[in-house]
Amino acid sequence: MSSVATSPGTARSGRGQFTELFTGGGRSRRLLWLFVGVVVLFSVARVLSGQEALTSSSTFSAALLLAVPIGLAALGGLFSERAGVVNIGLEGMMILGTWGAGWAGYQWGWGAAVLAGLLFGAVGGLLHAVATVTFGVDHVVSGVAINILAAGVVRFLSELLYVDNAAGGGAAQSPALSNRPPDFSLPVLSSGPDLLGDLESQHWFLISDLAGLLRGLTHEVGVLTLIAVLLIPASYLVLWRTAFGLRLRSCGENPAAADSLGVPVYRLKYIAVLISGGLAGLGGVFLVFVANIYREGQTGGRGFIGLAALIFGNWRPGGLAAGAGLFGFADALQLRSRTAVVALLLLVALLLAALAVGQAVQRRIVSAVIAAVFAAASLVGFLLIDTLPPGIVFFTPHLTTLLVLSLASQRLRMPAADGLVYRRGEQ
């Protein structure tokens, strides 16, 4: 093991014991270390800043709540883009989903709301599929048109059905849902004796942070949240472990080759975009469940952010879940506590300092210096600022997403034929 003693410059060619510990053992080991690193980082930041909200279970549970609609939209984007259809229309399909859920929910309860949301979203998907697959319209163009159209259609339907409705509602909102979906908690650990809650309130380094995370993810979880979380591995299995998934992905990589092998490219693209619309609609249903009512503008651009999460996650289910989680966490933090957002600056400082050290070790002096300067700036910001004004706090999640993307965005690879119009017999 002579490589242990070699200079850092040659560490790239031969792995030392130390490097082997962290990067050996394949992806799962690396991800595990990444997770451990992030938890330690958060723990350190919490203890240093004294902001308990940074890792409290209520923050994590709010984060989950905010991440689910984004994750569902992103999952919708995954299906469609893996089949080669760019879906900017996710936002519009989500809007249709919220309206459908509100309309069915106030009449027949939450089960009907789920079905109607799925259906309304899928109608948006069908429109997108007709335009892009059958008529070969540019995908972005069709998506933008669907966004405009969806906003008009739901307003129109509301004016038509909710104004002068005896059950309540108006031009911009539906009557309240007739019943609420059930939710679950993990027995013993996060309800009843609530062991995790006890552990969390001790404020021990690392242990309490982990307890907060686990309790946030297991306490009073809604039925749709459960479905959404399960949909992530399910999508992975469908897309990467079945013949259907392989064919679907082949449409996104090389439709001409897929066609020549007998894959029904058009039909698969239709199915993918329909699923995509349905999932985006389901994201809308979730928003309606949270508010217990349909309200205009409820989606608030979450379809677009889902698209960002999809790209952030490199067009893979696990990645997009991480992207949605990151966004949900930042959003939850700014909603729970404006002072805790300042603690994020400390986090950024720590992260950038680590990056600077890493770059310096690899002899990339310029990027190391840049990272170090920004790390210092973040630290100064953390020390000087007490609370941020609401306007600034509002965009914390968006700025976080942008920062993370610009720090780690070069190794992304989208499906090769994503966004290209495929016409049989035309190359």
Partner: protein, 408 residues
């Protein structure tokens, strides 16, 4: 082959798309209106009716033009990026940042009239360009997709603008229901064009026609010339059509991304100014929003050419004006949004159908032109089966054999 019928057919096909689209959009809207139990014909009459007296009609036209000017600029900003294959969805944030910065600078300084206006315009252009420049910079240095970064920057612009408005740039009093910046003094107002209208012998409208209309026309012409007649424009279009071919012929792809985003953002910076300099004279919570997203639709409808965008902006402005009269007629004004969305969707579909028809007729013309020389050759070879030659001819076997014989 023969030029004139070909030319006529080309023009016919070019017109076919939009006409088809508008007809389909009208039919769909009519069905929607009929579904809610209103009379579609009456609704369309309400929309087309500009007023009874000449002064009312002039007033309606001024309202349409005033709405069309920002829409045109928004469409132009989006189209410049589109021509290069960049999707600038961030126009919304760019014009918002530019408008608040311009309003703040305009209110803070006191200069003679033309200089004051020029300074405000310059500030808006620079801020818009810089805000869009972030997108370009992130794309070329860090490989961040411009769609994502500009969506995020839209939200950041929204938050920053609201922070600036309620914090350091607040001009209105504490108790005011509508928060605004300090008003721009009169030397920073853009003169209106109503004098021109009355000079032409038309009735004086109640609303001032934006003088910014002239700026918009000048910018439109300048962009048309820039795209069509300059080296930069050629590089831009080439990069849009085939990035690899453009790079191979020596275009600096990274530089082009930055330059294009700066240009697109600079135009986006102008979007808020017609309202700011011609009407409100201050930036507030009630400032016109959503123009960036409508700009995307306008650019698509206008097929990314300045003339097309101008027509599309006028159409959208015309539809927007109809919202209020429709409400008076007890028809949901959201019909307007539905018509706009339907028109965009049908226009793009119709364009695609028309393009495919054009390709097919060109192919048919091509094969007709190519067929006569090959047929006798093959026929002369003797060995080829006769069924190869007459494919596509509806006349059938016997006739084509006769013709082969005649030609031989």
């Amino acid at each position: 082959m023969n030029g004139r019928p070909g030319l006529l057919r080309r023009i016919g096909l070019a017109l076919l798309g939009p006409v088809l689209a508008i007809v389909v959009a009208l039919v769909i809207s009519a069905i929607v209106i009929a579904l809610i139990g209103e009379d579609p014909i009456a609704a369309f009459q309400v929309m087309v009716d500009l007023g009874d007296t000449p002064s009312q009609q002039i007033q309606s036209i001024v309202v349409i033009l005033n709405r069309a000017v920002p829409l045109f600029l928004a469409g132009l900003a989006v189209s410049v990026a589109f021509r290069m294959g960049l999707f600038n969805i961030g126009v919304e944030g760019q014009y918002r940042m530019a408008a608040i910065a311009a309003a703040a600078v305009g209110a803070a300084v006191a200069l003679p009239a033309p200089l004051h206006v020029l300074l405000i315009i310059a500030v808006a252009v620079v801020v818009g360009a810089l805000w869009a420049g972030i997108v370009g910079l992130l794309k070329v240095t860090r490989g961040v997709s411009e769609v994502i970064s500009s969506i995020m920057l839209n939200f950041i612009a929204l938050g920053t603008a609201s922070f600036l408005l309620t914090g350091p740039l607040r001009g209105s009093g504490e108790g005011a229901s509508i928060v605004t910046t300090k008003p721009i003094p009169e030397s920073g107002w853009f003169p209106g064009l109503n004098g021109l209208l009355t000079g032409l012998g038309l009735a004086e409208p109640r609303t001032e026609l934006y003088g910014f209309l002239i700026v918009a026309v000048v910018v439109g012409v300048a962009i048309a010339v820039l795209i069509k007649r300059t080296r930069f424009g050629f590089d831009l279009r080439a990069s849009g059509l085939s990035p690899s071919a453009a790079t191979a012929s020596g275009v600096n792809a990274r530089g082009m991304v930055i330059k294009t985003m700066l240009l697109s953002g600079a135009i986006a910076g102008l979007i808020g100014l017609p309202d700011l300099l011609g009407d409100t004279h201050e930036f507030g919570t009630q400032f016109t929003g959503g123009l960036g997203f409508l700009g995307i639709a306008v650019a698509l409808l206008g097929r990314n050419t300045p003339v097309g965008i101008a027509l599309a902006a006028l159409l959208f402005a015309f539809l927007d004006r109809a919202a209020l009269p429709l409400q008076f007629a007890d028809i949901p004004s959201s019909v307007v949004t539905i018509i706009q969305g339907t028109i965009v969707l049908t226009v793009v579909i119709a364009n695609e159908v028309a393009r495919r028809l054009a390709v097919r007729t060109a192919e048919r013309a091509g094969s007709a032109a190519a067929a006569p020389p090959t047929e006798p050759g093959e026929g002369g070879g003797g060995g080829t089966p006769p069924s190869d030659g007459p494919t596509g001819h509806p006349t059938g076997h016997g006739r084509s054999d006769d013709r082969q014989g005649a030609q031989a």
